[in-house]
Assembly symmetry: C2
């Protein structure tokens, strides 16, 4: 039914070897023979079976991507960056999630052992690190995106979290906000430590200490609950730096419920710049992470690795950008 290399060879009056040679543009083929074969290939619209090529060659021009969830607000941008890059290199992208615990991890590792793809892109390897390390040691090329834990043995790409935190701090300082609340993400994440470090260092540079730091979990509900609790406790602050936009949205809600005006009484800055940020009330100032570029960069690194080139030894850091909106306007 489908046309094979044997059909092409027969129609062109050459051996399969020769067809394979023109397919893979290895030299040593007579120009006129090559032309004839190519003509037949076009006429029969022959395309080599990827499975057969993969089997014979030992790799299949496919990369895998493992993500914790596909519905996170910024995941689409990362994915788009990855897909664009991978497709442009004529590779396929096999998508996996690991949101159903051990079962999905088992399923996934078996796909790896089945050599279904040549290299792997991973977003936020929470809970899968042991597995990844094992696979990596077994020779599977892996690149991490937004590595929250700082795992030096993997090549990775991240946003400039330290500088992003510092930018948020400088913006608030310029507006005269001297007693900020920092609502972090889970402390075990590398990005959280970095954002906090950048922020506190910038305040320290102005001779100010950041006293109010609360650990959150990156959810809107938690952002809302934390601020409500702090207000109930009578804590005072004139700004909030939330470590992601979702939490910042919860913060805006809690402040509104308490009758506190944003930005007059309290300024609010988030992190990420997800699409919702433009539409909150007031619109959310935030530190933008270049998610699409991060996806593109990670994919390029992996493809380079598959092509035999070395990956950078230290994480590739992409710049963040302070996006100024109504919740924390410029002074």
């Amino acid at each position: 039914m489908a046309v094979t290399i044997a059909d092409v060879a027969q129609a062109a009056g050459v051996s399969k070897t020769t067809v394979s040679r023109v397919l893979n543009t290895r030299g040593e083929v007579d120009a006129s023979t090559a032309a004839r074969v190519r003509e037949v290939i076009d006429r029969m619209s022959y395309v080599p079976s990827s499975g057969a090529v993969g089997l014979a060659r030992g790799s299949n021009r496919t990369v895998g991507m493992l993500v914790p969830s596909l519905t996170w607000p910024w995941m689409g941008e990362v994915l788009q960056g990855v897909v664009d890059t991978v497709e442009a290199a004529d590779f396929g992208l096999l998508l996996f999630t690991c949101n159903r615990g051990t079962e999905s991890v088992a399923r996934f590792t078996s796909q790896v052992s089945a050599r279904a793809f040549d290299g792997l892109l991973v977003v936020e390897p929470e809970n899968t690190l042991d597995m990844l390390t094992a696979l990596h040691r077994d020779g599977l090329p892996v690149v991490l995106i937004d590595d929250r834990g700082h795992h030096p043995e993997f090549p990775s790409v991240t946003a400039a979290n330290v500088e992003g935190g510092a930018a948020a701090a400088r913006h608030l300082l310029a507006d005269g906000r001297r007693s900020p609340l920092v609502l972090t993400g889970p402390r075990r994440f590398g990005c959280v430590g970095d954002r906090l470090t950048g922020f506190c260092t910038a305040y320290a540079d102005h001779g100010l200490a950041v006293d109010l730091v609360v650990e959150g979990d990156f959810t809107e509900a938690d952002g809302r609950a934390s601020v409500r609790r702090l207000l109930a406790e009578g804590r005072e602050f004139d700004a909030v730096f939330a470590h992601n936009d979702l939490a910042a949205i919860g913060v805006l809600g809690a402040l509104r419920d308490a009758g506190i005006r944003v930005p007059d009484d309290v300024a609010v800055i988030g992190f990420d710049d997800i699409p919702v940020a433009r539409h909150t009330e007031p619109s959310l100032s935030t530190v933008r992470q270049p998610m699409r570029e991060m996806g593109e960069t990670a994919a390029r690194m992996l493809l380079a690795r598959l092509a035999g080139r070395d990956s950078p030894a230290s994480p590739v850091v992409l710049p963040t950008e302070m996006i100024v909106r109504a919740s924390a306007p410029a002074r």
Copy 2:
């Protein structure tokens, strides 16, 4: 390096045929032999090479998915539904986009000819319909998601667009809104016609005609521009039914700019229920499409087809839900 079926066979003292038999749980294997083989498989942690299995079997337990863009607000939900279903069936998912015109389409069709996957899920086949039709006639199982054009030759799953439009209309009618503006999507889309039909029919049932219908293009910018223009022309309306949330957000912006109060002067209803809808000012009433369920259902249909079962001849229609928020509260 990687362990093959031959290694297992040798270690277990049986033929490759027998190993293959226990792998595929075809009967006719002595219980004790099977147990021994299984023990060896576990010990060597053998996993069959997916490429080799695919080649030998002619199919590779992988489905393809073709989407126009990964950054649309509701795409993540669809994808998550698809991935969950596909993974649970132990299939892989190969992701493709067609946002770079003819080049990507060519690349994609060649992947198809390469038999890289067994079946295909397609979201909104704009511009790819001819190709899809050809592939489908050549025997590739295809299922359409949110088929905007009504293509009876493909199995498909859509939201209840007619009923969704009617629900929006009934909600506005109950609030006494008698002269609505309908801001549609592109007319060539089947869903647009359906939403409009449902809406107008419900008004007609109350003896009211819908006079103000404007074609849009589903973008925020267009929603904003259309309303601004209509206001400048002095058109009057007491409600807006936008055919998607993005356009509805533009509508909210234009009304705010014009000093028109929502919902007091004009009520606004969107369609989709994307994440932003909860956070606009005022929050957006909308007709929810069950995107995740649509993804799950389409994937299930495709898997059933691959398993040899028939697909439903007519589109599978999933219910929508009227989500009431501040922009069009309940009376």
